[in-house]
């Protein structure tokens, strides 16, 4: 679902770019592009989707103690390598965001835009892009809630009724 959401977001951006709806030229104040109450809708949807993604995943979960198959050392190492790669990408994106914001702080004409500014502008161009952006961030937040909200699964035996 997250891959579909991410791909959907990319397609929306590509479609808008091909339709000559460049968000940069239509967004004079990108930092405050999303005003109230739309900003609250975005924040509320992200938080709700995050929590829903985590809670709904409980229905598909079983018991840690009997269902986790033993992993080989090779599998564990590969999983750890993937984690390192994902965190490296995350660090790169956040470092770019900080750097681009710092550049804009000293030089407002800087051509390096923060990722969040681009998303803010993109989501306000048309009603369709607002709805599409809401959908994409909802899917991504739900995925993050499913993957990042750790809750231990403990086994509580049910009392027998007989």
């Amino acid at each position: 679902m997250a891959l579909v959401g991410g791909a959907g977001g990319g397609l929306v951006a590509l479609a808008l770019a091909l339709a000559e709806k460049d968000p940069g030229s239509r967004c004079p104040g990108p930092h405050n592009a999303i005003g109230a109450p739309l900003n609250l809708v975005f924040v509320g949807l992200c938080a709700a989707a995050f929590l829903a993604g985590g809670l709904l995943s409980d229905f598909a979960r079983g018991r840690d103690d009997i269902e986790d198959a033993p992993q080989s050392a090779r599998d564990r190492t590969w999983l750890q390598a993937v984690l390192v790669a994902v965190l490296a990408v995350l660090f790169g994106l956040l470092a770019y965001e900080t750097y681009s914001l710092l550049l804009l702080d000293t030089n407002p004409q800087s051509s390096l835009w923060p990722i969040t500014w681009f998303v803010r502008c993109l989501s306000t161009i048309t009603t369709l892009s607002t709805v599409a952006t809401l959908l994409v961030v909802g899917i991504m937040s739900a995925f993050f809630g499913k993957s990042l909200w750790y809750r231990p699964r403990t086994f509580k035996p049910r009392p027998r009724t007989r």
Binding site: T77, L102, R151
Partner: protein, 113 residues
């Protein structure tokens, strides 16, 4: 009758036994000290500091995961994140992420902007 140990000795034994907790506390201390340095000397706006701290936190997580990967590759035993059951209650673990999420939203909305 058992020998009563001082609270310091008990805390010290606990931190030695629970390596993940020691690492978590160390990372939080580094985060706090680094955050203070960044705020005082580099980022004079809360907004820029907030984003710098997200990158700094990601860097700490990356360093921790990279260390554990190296331990996996060299068949070492000094992993920073262990697979021991957490020494605190289930509800503390369940509440941690939603509380941090809420704190992040509140800080971003009311302080950083």
């Amino acid at each position: 009758m058992g020998v009563r140990r001082s609270p310091f000795a008990r805390a010290s034994n606990f931190l030695i036994r629970e390596r993940s907790v020691s690492v978590l506390i160390s990372l939080l201390v580094v985060l706090a000290l680094g955050g203070a340095v960044l705020r005082v000397f580099f980022f004079h706006s809360w907004f820029l500091w907030f984003w710098a701290m997200t990158a700094f936190t990601a860097l700490e997580l990356l360093a921790t995961a990279a260390w554990d990967l190296l331990e996996d590759l060299r068949r070492g035993r000094l992993h920073l994140v262990t697979d021991h059951p957490a020494p605190w209650g289930e509800w503390a673990q369940v509440a941690l992420v939603p509380l941090l999420l809420l704190a992040g939203i509140v800080f971003d909305h009311f302080v950083a902007h």
